[in-house]
């Protein structure tokens, strides 16, 4: 093949274009989040406005929230991401294992401006979400008034779905067995308390379908596989608002948790990462996410910035905080692995 002038020119132009492209986005920030409707919401609320304001390009990646992937990156010294979203219990684990950076809050926002428990050593809160009960009133006869009604198989017969994980389920089991919310973690730290929680779960074991991924509960309800399910509130609200699903959410006795974001050890652009963290931790910007998915802000002073139509759907809206429990991260850091093993053994029996 003859190299013609035209081809040479095209090649040179392409090269110049690529180089220019790189120059235009010299600053790149790589964020790994756990995908789905939640990542879409973050893109609209935070990624795109941040890029527009600062000229920093955001490269998105997705993962399942399993810290093993991050550990493999840190252990091999090849860390292609600057920020990673994690659950609260995972932050503690990653912090202990030395794979997440300890954060310097002077570069983000005053720590006392965050809701208690949402600004941790290795992770800063993004939003608050609720573990709630959801049902389809067309399928379920009667209306449950508390998440604990999932244990009442006489009043609400039929299959029910719960997350295949001990956290939340053990807390709800103890509360359904009469333990006051304030004492739940104290009781659960004793072997007798654990036995008691599992005994309560035993009473509905044969009626439970287990879910793993956050997208499953709305599917299980829609396919009528179950009559009620525990779920993350945003996933159910999303199905109601976007797909017109007839589901209802029960807030009473919800468990409140925080989504977190962290910097993995060995990240290539920690300065850009801090810039992003400082950006999203401003109260009016922290509140913006609620317009795209019904998860609440974690800045104490952000409530007034939440869009008025979004407010009543948030887990930390005043109406939803009559009876609730805040998940205890320290407890799950201590007993998580042991209880997961016990839970799996119990499942297999």
């Amino acid at each position: 093949m003859k190299i013609t002038k035209a081809r040479l020119f095209a090649f040179a132009a392409a090269t110049a274009f690529i180089t220019m492209g790189n120059a235009a986005f010299a600053d790149e920030l790589s964020i790994m989040a756990s995908g789905g409707a939640w990542q879409d919401a973050q893109r609209k609320a935070w990624f795109e406005p941040f890029s527009k304001e600062t000229g920093i390009k955001i490269v998105e990646q997705e993962y399942l929230g399993d810290l093993g992937k991050v550990k493999a990156m840190v252990d091999t010294g090849n860390v292609p991401i600057d920020l990673v979203t994690v659950e609260t219990a995972t932050v503690l684990q990653g912090c202990d294992a030395g794979i997440l950076e300890r954060l310097d809050y002077s570069k983000i926002a005053p720590r006392e401006k965050f809701i208690e428990g949402s600004a941790l050593d290795c992770g800063v809160g993004l939003d608050a979400y609720g573990d709630i009960l959801a049902y389809d009133p067309n399928v379920l006869k009667g209306a449950p008034t508390s998440v604990l009604d999932i244990f009442d198989t006489t009043k609400f017969p039929g299959k029910r779905a719960m997350r295949k994980f001990p956290a939340q389920n053990l807390e709800w089991a103890l509360m359904a067995d009469g333990v006051a919310p304030a004492d739940v973690y104290e009781v659960l730290a004793t072997p007798e308390g654990v036995d008691r929680a599992f005994k309560k779960l035993d009473t509905i074991k044969k009626d439970i379908v287990w879910w793993d991924a956050g997208a499953q509960p709305p599917q299980l309800l829609a396919s009528k596989e179950v009559v009620m399910t525990t779920a993350w509130n945003g996933r159910i609200q999303n199905a109601i608002d976007k797909d017109g699903a007839p589901f209802k959410i029960v807030w009473n006795n919800q468990i409140l948790e925080y989504d977190m974001i962290a910097i993995p050890k060995g990240a290539k652009s920690p300065d850009l990462a801090y810039k992003y963290l400082a950006y999203i931790s401003q109260p009016e910007i922290n509140a913006r996410l609620a317009s795209y998915i019904t998860y609440g802000p974690v800045r104490i002073d952000a409530a007034s910035f939440v869009a008025p139509d979004a407010l009543p759907k948030l887990p930390n809206a005043p109406d939803h905080l009559t009876a609730y429990l805040v998940a205890d991260t320290e407890f799950w850091g201590d007993y998580g692995e042991d209880l997961v093993k016990r839970f799996n053994a119990w499942l297999a029996q």
Binding site: A97, G98, K164, A189, A348
Partner: protein, 426 residues
């Protein structure tokens, strides 16, 4: 018994041991041949060397390194050098002397200074649930330094609890049997013997049994479905056989995830299978096929069918129809001819197909995760959970090691029954 003669490929290599009269010449010829043979082997080995090096670097060494984590965990030993020293003379019963408490206090403070306290806490917590917060609390109190270290240590009941010091002592040995024993639901008891863990904590033996049961069930199901189908494909005209083979292979070329997802659509409560069963009147009510053992076995059987079928088919294709005709002409009834002429020749293919499917089934992960219920999770699901979620790679390595040992043992039994050279994998 001509039918039982090994096929051409199975015949031993032509012997080089001439039992000629002139043994002297024969011996020197044999020696020369052996030398030439050795040269050939070395040359072919040299040709294969790049491949072997690649295999060792990218496959062998990483696996060995990962599996070594099952028995080698130096985190605690490295973090507690003074405590290791102080525990040398301890007899393992009761509490050690105050020197050990002081050594531990000093080790904890030096870990805090080096920034490794959290790693140590996590490692201790894996063996002793609840140790994490107790240790971190103690470290904070030691840092405060308003009381002598010994007083601080004695004031935290955890450090004087009966189970604590034996675990610390066992942690100071880098080579540990803790994880391998845990993978078999065993542990050391206080007297230094091995005992079963309490039933509410026992899990892995049951999961291993379940994994083998599911693998065996899928193997049998694919054999029952695959054998007649392979026979059909081998006996129809070429054009039709090609169409049938494509029909078998088409799903084989589709991603396993897609096929598994398709089964969830078919098997769910208001899915096609249940609709069909109700319409036919075969079932009175909708069956729970999703999240059940039977659904799992159905989906795995579909995915594994080509693996069992193809080796059987490849052997069947080589069998001449004239052999069966010859058997009939010698007076054999159809079943006798099948049993004594056909089956022995197909046997290596059947064994190869079954072995392939059985071993692949032992490693199934995605199908049990999506279609199986909570009590249908196989050992791979637990390994994945320890790698990805718990970050306890030692436990994952121990489970992998046990699975590998079982698989190799099984392969050994197959090879012994049949002989490796008779296994016809393709």
């Amino acid at each position: 018994m001509s039918a039982l003669e090994p096929t051409k490929l199975d015949q031993p290599r032509p012997s080089r041991d001439w039992s000629a009269a002139d043994t002297g010449t024969a011996k020197s010829v044999a020696a020369a041949l052996r030398r030439a043979d050795l040269g050939d082997r070395l040359r072919s080995l040299a040709l294969a060397a790049p491949l072997l090096v690649l295999l060792a670097l990218s496959f062998g060494i990483p696996i060995v390194l990962l599996l070594s984590r099952a028995v080698y965990d130096p985190t605690i030993a490295n973090a507690l050098p003074q405590t290791s020293q102080a525990l040398r003379g301890w007899n393992g019963t009761g509490l050690p002397d105050d020197a050990a408490f002081l050594a531990l206090a000093a080790d904890l403070r030096s870990n805090q200074a080096k920034g490794t306290a959290y790693e140590l806490a996590k490692s201790l917590n894996a063996r002793l649930p609840g140790a994490r917060s107790q240790m971190l609390k103690t470290v904070r109190q030691l840092e405060a330094a308003d009381r002598p270290p010994l007083e601080v240590m004695k004031a935290v009941p955890f450090w004087s609890a009966p189970g604590t010091w034996p675990v610390i002592e066992s942690g100071t040995h880098s080579v540990t049997s803790f994880y391998l024993l845990s993978a078999l639901d065993l542990r050391w008891n206080a007297d230094g013997g091995i005992e079963r863990v309490p039933p509410e904590q026992a899990i892995f033996v049951q999961v291993f049994m379940r994994t083998f049961f599911v693998a065996a069930a899928v193997m049998l199901a694919t054999l029952v479905l695959g054998f007649p189908l392979a026979y059909l494909i081998a006996s129809v005209p070429k054009g039709l056989a090609a169409v049938l083979i494509v029909a078998v292979l088409l799903p084989f070329w589709t991603s396993i995830l897609v096929r598994t997802a398709a089964w969830t659509v078919l098997l769910q409560k208001f899915g096609l299978v249940n609709d069909l069963l109700l319409w036919l009147g075969a079932a009175d009510d909708r069956l729970d096929l999703m999240y059940s053992r039977i659904g799992l076995i159905i989906a795995m059987t579909h995915i594994q069918l080509p693996f069992t079928l193809l080796p059987i088919y490849s052997v069947m294709r080589t069998i001449q129809p004239s052999q069966m005709k010859a058997a009939y002409s010698l007076g054999a009834k159809p079943f006798t001819a099948f049993r004594r002429v056909y089956l022995p020749q197909v046997f290596p293919g059947v064994m190869a197909g079954c072995l392939l499917t059985f071993i692949l089934c032992l490693g199934y992960y995605i199908t049990p995760a999506l279609i199986g219920g909570a009590s249908d999770q196989l050992i791979s699901n637990f390994i994945a959970s320890y790698v990805n979620v718990e970050l306890n790679w030692e436990m994952a390595a121990a489970l992998s090691f046990i699975l590998l040992v079982f698989t190799l043992a099984l392969f050994g039994i197959f090879a012994r029954i049949l002989g490796l050279d008779r296994l016809k994998l393709v």
